[in-house]
C-alpha cells in the first residue's frame, strides 16, 4: 500500500486540543454502532422492493416515512 501519510505521530495539537490521541479516540467513538437494535431490522430503501417482497412473502409492508431519510440524517 502506498501511504501518503507519514504517520499520525506528526499531528500537532490544535487550538481545540485535537491531538493524535484524541483524533483516534473521537474517530472511533463517532462510528455508528453496527449492532444497534434498530439496525437489526432488515430495512429496505425502496417501496417497490418492499412491494415485491410483500407480494412474494404474503406479508404487509411497514413504511417509516420521515422528512429527511430515516437511515440517514434525521
Amino acid at each position: 500500500m502506498k501511504a501518503l501519510g507519514l504517520g499520525l505521530g506528526l499531528l500537532v495539537a490544535s487550538a481545540f486540543g485535537l491531538t493524535e490521541e484524541e483524533f483516534l479516540k473521537l474517530h472511533r467513538e463517532l462510528q455508528a454502532d453496527p449492532s444497534a437494535t434498530w439496525r437489526t431490522i432488515p430495512w429496505k430503501t425502496s417501496v417497490l422492493d418492499a412491494q415485491a417482497a410483500a407480494a412474494r412473502e404474503g406479508k404487509p409492508i411497514f413504511i417509516w416515512a420521515m422528512d429527511g431519510h430515516p437511515l440517514g440524517c434525521t
Binding site: G5, L30, W43, A53, A54, P60, F62, L71
Partner: protein, 295 residues
C-alpha cells in the same frame, strides 16, 4: 434519530418488523414528489391516510398490503401506540395476489447517484458536552445521539486526493454541508458567505484544516479544526479518516434545544464500504439541488 433509539429499539416492535412485516425506510419529502412508479406507489398509500399528497408532509408510519391498500397509519412514536397500529394491521391483512410493480424509469431529480469514480464518505457527528441535565428519556436520546450523513466526492476530486492535492471544491462542500450540527434533526446548511475562514493543507497524507463558519447575525456558528489521514493505493483512496472538533453555537428551526452558549461538537468522516444501508442515502445537503451540492 429519536425513532431509532426509542420506537425501533422496542423488542416487541423489532421482532414484528423482523418476522411479520416488510420494513422500508424512506424520505417522504422525495417520495411524495417523485413522478415515477416508486413515488406513485407511495403516494397511493399515503393518500389513503390523513396526510394527503400535495398538502405538506406525509411523515408517519404506514402499513399496507402488496396492492397498496392502507392497513393502518400513525404518526405517534410511543411504543404502545405503534404496537397497537401494527397488530391492528396484521389482523386486517389478507395476502393479496399482486405482481411486483416494475420500477420503470426513475425520476432523476429524486434519485441522485454518487458521482462515478468518486467516493462516498460516512459523516457522523456528536455533541460532546454542554447540555443541561435531561428531564426525560427522549431528551436524553437527543443529547447522546449521533448525527449521520454521507459526503459525496467527485471523480476529479478523488483523483486530486490520490495526487496529494486538496481540492478547494471539496473543502468548500465539506464545510458548507457537513460541518453542521445534525444531531437533533435536519440542520440548516451554511451559505457560501457564511464561510469566514477555510484553510487546509494535505501534506504527506496528513490533512490539517481550520474552518470558521458564522451567520451574518452571529446567532449560529462553528469554529473548528480538522485533522485526518488519507492513504492511497493504485490510484484510489483507500483510507480517508478525518475528525473535526471545535465549538458550535446556535440552532436551526429543526434542531432546537441545542446547548446554551458555545458547545463542543465533533464530526468524523470515514470511507463508506457499502455494507450499511445508509451508505446509499444521498447527502442531506443535496436534497432538492444535487448540482448545487456537488459543484
Amino acid at each position: 434519530m429519536l425513532d431509532r433509539e426509542s420506537t425501533f429499539a422496542d423488542p416487541a416492535i423489532v421482532k414484528l418488523l423482523q418476522t411479520r412485516f416488510i420494513p422500508v425506510a424512506i424520505d417522504q419529502a422525495y417520495q411524495r414528489r417523485q413522478n415515477d412508479n416508486e413515488g406513485k406507489f407511495y403516494q397511493k398509500i399515503a393518500n389513503q391516510g390523513p396526510r394527503k399528497i400535495g398538502r405538506g408532509t406525509t411523515q408517519g408510519l404506514y402499513t399496507a398490503d402488496a396492492s397498496g391498500r392502507l392497513l393502518a397509519f400513525t404518526n405517534n412514536r410511543g411504543a404502545t401506540r405503534v404496537l397497537g397500529m401494527m397488530n391492528g394491521a396484521l389482523k386486517k391483512h389478507r395476502p393479496v395476489k399482486a405482481a411486483a410493480i416494475a420500477k420503470g424509469t426513475p425520476d432523476a431529480r429524486y434519485n441522485p447517484k454518487p458521482p462515478k469514480g468518486g467516493l462516498v464518505v460516512r459523516v457522523t457527528s456528536k455533541v460532546l458536552g454542554g447540555y443541561e441535565e435531561p428531564d426525560n428519556e427522549f431528551r436524553r436520546i437527543y443529547q447522546t445521539s449521533l448525527g449521520r450523513d454521507n459526503l459525496w466526492i467527485r471523480a476529479d476530486e478523488h483523483s486530486a486526493l490520490t495526487k496529494g492535492q486538496l481540492p478547494p471544491s471539496l473543502m468548500k462542500r465539506l464545510a458548507r454541508f457537513h460541518l453542521v450540527d445534525n444531531t437533533r434533526g435536519e440542520p440548516p446548511m451554511w451559505e457560501p458567505n457564511e464561510i469566514k475562514k477555510l484553510e487546509g493543507t494535505l501534506r504527506n497524507g496528513q490533512l490539517h484544516a481550520t474552518v470558521h463558519l458564522r451567520t451574518a447575525k452571529g446567532d449560529r456558528g462553528y469554529e473548528t479544526e480538522l485533522l485526518g489521514r488519507i492513504e492511497t493505493k493504485a490510484g484510489k483512496v483507500t483510507r480517508l479518516d478525518l475528525v473535526a472538533k471545535g465549538e458550535f453555537w446556535g440552532e436551526g428551526t429543526y434542531t432546537r434545544r441545542a446547548p446554551k452558549d458555545r458547545f463542543p461538537l465533533a464530526i468524523a468522516f470515514t470511507l463508506a464500504d457499502g455494507k450499511d444501508a445508509a451508505d446509499t442515502i444521498p447527502p442531506q445537503g443535496s436534497r432538492g439541488w444535487v448540482r448545487g451540492y456537488i459543484r
